[in-house]
């Protein structure tokens, strides 16, 4: 038994080494920070004590932030369901014109970092000089003020409804059409079928989508920061950032306690999601087929108009405002021909500070994506193709940091790595590492957070490859390593390239963890963008946002082509 394991490990060669190193790194960079964070919440100079936690919990501001956070999370879930489910049904079950294009267009807001859309909306709906406010002639107290909880919810809802839509859509497409047809022949009208058969059967998919957007709403930082801060609306993530920003011991202790609260609520939501997904599998099944489509009749145009309107609201309007802003010479002067130009682009792209941040984000995203895909392949290969005990550890473990709010993870990193770490056997053989304020801490955080993408993409690709292909290679005399390199990887390549892009894109514009972990030398694109938007110059922020949005949309279209339409938007 044991000898078999040893032999298998030896045969796997470098793969086993990579898996071991990755496993160790995951423990160091994901388990350790979380444990340190948890311990830190009741560890004081005076020893073990619940005092910091109690102090944080007895602070009314903590409760307020918690309630606002829950409100934002519930609101986001509600908006995403109200927009996503009808859109999914219209796309999957009616004779709506132009469904293919509509589906892609409706998915796009999800690909773009939500804070970019939020910047667009702030430009439109801020009380001082919001474009929509001026257009409607609203000013002073009558002006619409986006800097409120509803503003946060609206921005998050418009960015994340595609998630619920896509999840519901695929549940609807996977449903055996005869389930609905049997109801029709039983005497049910099309609308009755929707409410007694279609929706009840999609409940698990909808609920799991809603829980996901609930979690996202709870963990979001960028949108609540940009939209909420000026109106003094604080959620847990922004409260944590504010406390860390102040930086006194007391504030850090408060931030730690808040992070623990956030982490616990997120964990509970996650457990519920697991349960729902499992239940969903029991309800679906049967063969999918060509569903019969409900003829919308004269509502066809109305429905298509409504969905295109949604595309306009969730994508085109905020994005075009950004693009226009990026060309504005003087921010206050408004949209006249002589006030338009490339001066912002020139100043942004001619500035070494900006170029430095862009370069930082580019290489960090590229390296993180490479590491995530590499480890993802190895982890997923170990799980599905070997018999080594503990092979499921890495893929399973990768899901944990992905589900934990980035702010919580970053807090763990701050606590665990703000001192020098000392790895050593004796006083002579040791290495000392200080990760804090270096690019490495950002790289580690990105890798830990997005490893799940690499694992999932590899899992999906590996299940597509019939084991007999590998077995044929083995019986023709190839070692396992050769099989992986010579047979498995080439077949998986398009999926892996797609996974690489899918990690690269969100890291490129990452803000939630970056804003807590960046150092003086390691500003990233996202952090700089926030600086521009908050303190310096909205048009400059618009330049970066426009470039980032275009990159992300282009990247997603590339992924879509690479994956044959299965991934990307």
């Amino acid at each position: 038994m044991q000898r078999a394991v040893v032999r298998e490990l030896r045969e796997l060669g470098w793969l086993a080494v990579i898996a071991a190193v990755a496993g160790g790194a995951m423990i160091l960079f994901s388990a350790l920070p979380l444990v340190v964070l948890l311990l830190g919440s009741f560890w004081t100079d005076a020893g073990v004590s619940l005092e910091p936690l109690v102090r944080a919990l007895s602070n009314p501001e903590t409760w307020e932030a918690t309630f606002v956070t829950l409100g934002v999370a519930f609101g986001t879930a509600a908006v995403t369901v109200l927009l996503g489910v009808p859109a999914a049904w219209l796309l999957a079950r009616t004779d709506l014109p132009g469904k293919g294009v509509l589906k892609t267009a409706l998915s796009m807001p999800y690909a773009i970092p939500p804070y970019i859309m939020a910047i667009g909306w702030i430009t439109l709906l801020n009380p001082r000089n919001g474009a929509l406010n001026s257009l409607m002639g609203l000013s002073g107290d009558a002006a619409i003020d986006i800097h409120a909880t509803w503003g946060i919810i609206m921005c998050l809802g418009l960015s994340y409804f595609p998630l619920v839509m896509l999840q519901t859509h695929s549940a609807l497409m996977g449903m055996d059409p005869s389930l609905e047809e049997a109801a029709r022949t039983s005497g049910a009208s099309p609308m009755r079928v929707v409410f007694t058969i279609t929706l009840p059967l999609s409940v698990p998919a909808i609920a799991s989508g809603a829980l996901l957007t609930f979690l996202i709403g709870m963990a979001s930082f960028g949108v609540p920061y940009l939209v909420g801060n000026p109106g003094r609306v604080k959620v847990l993530t922004t409260a944590i950032y504010a406390a860390i920003d102040v930086g006194t011991d007391e504030h850090v202790a408060e931030a730690v306690a808040l992070a623990v609260v956030l982490g616990v609520v997120a964990a509970l939501a996650l457990v519920a999601n697991r349960w729902l997904v499992k239940r969903g599998r029991a309800l679906t099944g049967g063969k999918a087929g060509r569903p019969s489509l409900v003829a919308l009749g004269r509502f066809r145009v109305v429905a298509a108009g409504a969905l295109w309107g949604l595309v306009g609201f969730a994508l085109l309007l905020p994005l075009s405002v950004l693009v226009v802003t990026s060309f504005l010479g003087t921010y206050g002067k408004g949209l006249v021909a002589e006030n338009l130009g490339l001066s912002n682009y020139a100043s942004v792209l001619g500035d070494t500070r900006t170029l430095g941040a862009i370069w930082n984000s580019l290489w960090l995203a590229a390296v993180a994506a490479t590491i995530c895909v590499l480890i993802g392949v190895v982890a997923s290969y170990f799980r599905s193709r070997t018999t080594i005990p503990g092979r499921a550890f890495l893929p399973w473990f990768a899901e944990l940091p992905y589900a934990i709010p980035g702010t919580v993870l970053a807090m763990g990193f701050i606590l665990a790595f703000s001192q020098e770490i000392w790895f050593g056997l004796t006083d002579v053989f040791y290495i000392r590492v200080l990760l804090f304020n270096t690019a490495w801490i950002l790289l580690a955080a990105y890798c830990v957070k997005y490893l799940a993408y690499g694992v999932r993409a590899s899992d999906a690709a590996l299940t597509q490859i019939d084991k007999s292909l590998e077995e044929a290679a083995r019986t023709s005399g190839a070692s396992p390593l050769r099989v992986v390199v010579g047979v498995v990887l080439p077949i998986m390549r398009p999926a892996l390239v797609a996974a690489w892009v899918l990690v690269f894109l969100p890291v490129l514009g990452e803000i939630t963890m970056s804003i807590l972990l960046f150092g003086p030398e390691t500003k990233t694109l996202g952090v700089l963008l926030f600086d521009f938007q908050s303190y310096e110059s909205p048009p400059k922020a618009a330049v970066l946002a426009t470039l980032l949005a275009l990159t992300v949309l282009g990247g997603n279209l590339l992924v879509k082509r690479l994956s044959g339409g299965k991934l990307g938007i």
Partner: protein, 344 residues
């Protein structure tokens, strides 16, 4: 219960004609099987009766009511037709219990609670599931789920029962059991039934009338013995039973196979090349007659299946006495049918 009348119904998806003018009058209480190769339009035809598919041409009548006629812009949606339908994939709703599944159409018909419970129990009893009403579908086997679907269709007291390959997803043993039950239910209820299948045995065993479709057209419609013994063309002959076809030359009113005269009914056929249909059981080994060579032998339990080489053509025969590959034998035919060569 009601009759069903199809008058020249057609269905096209874009430019593709799938059903090309089907005429069929199904009498009240009749059991009709639609039989044909894959893709011939059986399901489409059945779905047009159900109203799940709108014909692009022709009329559909249920009883005296025109339920579909594009020329007059008439289309009655499926929920208003009161037809029971059973699908190949069962289509039992997984979020409802067995009893709730069966009660669903009754609820929509507006029947009261007490009345409904009685009807549900009666329908479940009819398919031998009277004791499983509280179960959820995922706790049932495939055969049981199909019984639930059948009970659901029966409970609504449909005017016509439509079944689309209801037994194809079941294993051979269950299939036979459920087939027997369908014919019992049919005898008990006297329902008008339209039954789609690609399994000729099912059609032969169950139906009053078999309708053979090919390429969206009816090739032949008639009682099972007629379709079997008197196929109108080589396609039907070949599709039902495992007939082989010998190329022959029609001279006068007779044909020769390997130099031996074979009596045929050649009425209406032009002289020249023709094909001779041979059913496996119509070939007998004899002392003299047409020479043939045994090429392979398969033991089938109650008989032997031989592949014979007769004048260069491979022919299937079912015989009772064994033979060995390579044997030179003589055969004669108890029944043959002659078709022109141009029929497929």
């Amino acid at each position: 219960m009601a009759s069903v009348t199809l008058e020249n119904i057609q269905k096209a998806y874009g430019d593709v004609q799938v059903v090309r003018g089907v005429d069929l009058a199904i009498a009240d209480g009749e059991f009709v099987a639609l039989l044909g190769p894959s893709g011939c339009g059986k399901t489409t035809t059945l779905r047009m009766i159900a109203g799940l598919e709108e014909p692009t041409g022709g009329k559909v009548l249920i009883g005296d009511e025109i339920v579909s006629n594009p020329a007059q812009n008439i289309f009655v949606p499926p929920e208003k037709r009161r037809l029971g339908m059973v699908f190949q994939s069962y289509a039992v709703w997984p979020h409802m219990s067995v009893a709730q599944n069966v009660a669903y159409p009754l609820k929509l018909q507006g029947s009261g609670r007490a009345e409904r419970d009685v009807a549900v129990q009666r329908a479940l009893d009819m398919v031998q599931l009277g004791h499983l009403g509280k179960r959820m579908p995922h706790q049932l086997s495939g055969g049981q789920q199909q019984r639930v679907a059948l009970a659901r269709a029966l409970a609504m007291e449909p005017r016509v029962l439509l079944l689309d390959e209801p037994l194809s997803n079941l294993d051979a043993h269950l299939r036979e059991e459920l087939r027997r039950e369908i014919s019992l239910i049919r005898a008990r209820t006297g329902l008008t039934i339209v039954y789609v299948t690609h399994d000729q045995e099912e059609a032969l065993a169950l139906a009053d009338r078999i309708v053979i479709l090919d390429g969206g057209r009816i090739r032949q419609a008639g009682p099972p013995p007629e379709v079997y013994t008197a196929p109108v063309d080589a396609f039907v002959g070949g599709f039902i039973g495992k007939a082989s076809f010998l190329p022959v030359d029609l001279v006068g009113s007779g044909v020769k196979v390997a130099g031996v005269d074979v009596a045929v009914d050649a009425e209406g056929l032009p002289e020249g090349p023709a094909q001779l249909m041979l059913r496996p059981e119509a070939i007998v080994l004899s002392e003299s007659g047409i020479p043939a060579k045994v090429t392979s032998v398969t033991y089938l339990g109650d008989r032997h299946e031989l592949w014979l080489d007769i004048a260069g053509t491979a022919v299937r025969a079912h015989v009772e006495t064994p033979a060995a590959p390579g044997d030179q034998v003589h055969v004669s035919f108890t029944r043959v049918k002659l078709f022109p060569v141009d029929s497929p």
